[in-house]
């Protein structure tokens, strides 16, 4: 042990790179390399599916145009097959359809633009109400009261041979 000490007498004072300092920086460098080699793929692995673009939208049949009451938003439900990662399942899509003249249709999502609860049309008041934070929307989906930041979202609508289609995915 004393022989070893004699060989490196000024190890602590020496500013030049000595054996110990060199080996410890090499160890740190290899450690950093391995961490990055696993760390970068790990980040890609975690965020990857989140960045995947949504599937193509398509026209979804929601029901017969004759069932839409004139001047009253009417709730329609359609089943859509959705594929998320490895899971394919049926989801229910709810949409309020409104027509004033039986020719032009408006399709509104029933999802509150505040925090995503489902809004409901209340006939007596002639307004949409959201049960979660008392958001109120008018017949055309515009905000009347409460926290919602924007009107109800709308879908593109197409009527073909008496059947209503909306563009969604």
């Amino acid at each position: 042990m004393s022989a070893d000490d004699a060989k490196e007498p000024q190890e602590t004072q020496n500013d030049e790179v000595n054996r110990r300092a060199f080996l410890s920086s090499v160890t740190v460098a290899i450690g950093a390399l391995i961490s990055a080699g696993l760390g970068i793929p790990a980040v890609a692995y975690i965020v990857g599916p989140a960045l995947k673009r949504a599937e193509e939208q398509e026209w979804i049949s929601v029901g017969s145009a004759s069932k839409v009451e004139l001047g009253t938003p009417t709730l329609f439900k359609a089943n859509v097959e959705r594929k998320t990662a490895w899971i394919t399942d049926e989801q229910e899509l709810s949409v309020y359809l409104l027509t004033e003249d039986g020719r032009d249709y408006v399709a509104m999502s029933n999802i509150c633009t505040h925090l995503g609860c489902r809004v409901r049309w209340i006939d007596e008041q002639g307004q949409f109400f959201c049960p979660c934070h008392s958001g109120v929307f008018a017949k055309d989906g515009s905000v009347l009261a409460g926290p919602p930041p924007r009107p109800l979202d709308r879908y593109d609508v197409r009527v073909e041979e008496g059947t209503i289609y909306i563009l969604g995915g």
Binding site: L38, P41, A42, Y45, I46, G48, P49, A85, W86, I87
Partner: protein, 219 residues
């Protein structure tokens, strides 16, 4: 900057003292065979990190397990790499643990005062084999299913308790989704807990007693 943060922390945590005790301790003149334990620890850390990542997508149910493994391997960015590291790391664990043990036997390093290090090492060997056995079922493909069918039947041959061991392992008469769920639970909860517990004893003793030197002619 780094040095002043280190000092600030050291005044409160005393980490430098611990660091020196762990990494600047005196060791005898040894050879590369003495790195097998560290190599095992390194691969174990790899298994923990990649294993945690795999649980983000893996689902241990009969209808989804195989699909999620395929999804990880073919769809998730770097999923093939994460799974590959875990897959080959598993084999490396068994190989390294056995080589480490053979070296300890060869050098007689299990003797006084290192018996408890040895006993805990034997425990760790069993834990590693348990990881291998339970992990093999999780991809839920034909190979996994039949390997576990055979593996549990081998356990059944054990005198007296064999039949009971098979039933407990499978969670019933047949190999089903119940088996998959319990193998998963053992693989990601029971065995990691056991590993960390026994490993801390094992490594504490390595630091406390120090490693044995290469036996000389008189030993």
């Amino acid at each position: 900057m780094a040095a002043s943060i280190g000092t600030w922390l050291d005044e409160r945590l005393g980490w430098r003292h611990i660091w020196d005790a762990l990494f600047l301790r005196k060791i005898p003149k040894v050879n590369w065979l003495y790195t097998l334990g560290s190599a095992t620890l390194f691969v174990a850390i790899n298994q923990i990190v990649t294993g945690i990542l795999l649980t983000i997508y893996y689902v241990p149910t009969p209808d989804q397990a195989h699909d999620t493994v395929q999804f990880i391997t073919t769809q998730v960015p770097a999923g093939w790499l994460i799974r590959g590291l875990h897959y080959y790391g598993a084999s490396a664990m068994v190989v390294l643990v056995v080589l480490h043990m053979v070296r300890v036997i060869y050098h007689g390093a299990y003797k006084y005062p290192r018996e408890i290090t040895w006993f805990s090492g034997v425990g760790l060997l069993l834990v590693v084999l348990g990881f291998g056995f339970t992990g093999y079922l999780l991809p839920w493909d034909q190979k996994a299913f039949w390997a576990t069918t055979v593996g549990t039947r081998i356990a059944e041959v054990t005198p007296v308790v064999g039949r009971w061991v098979l039933l407990v392992m499978r969670g019933g008469e047949e190999l089903t989704g119940v088996t998959l769920a319990r193998f998963y639970g053992v693989h990601v909860w029971a065995l990691p807990a056991a590993l960390l517990l026994i490993l801390s004893v094992h490594i504490y003793l390595v630091f406390r007693i120090g490693i044995s030197s290469v036996p000389g002619k008189e030993d």
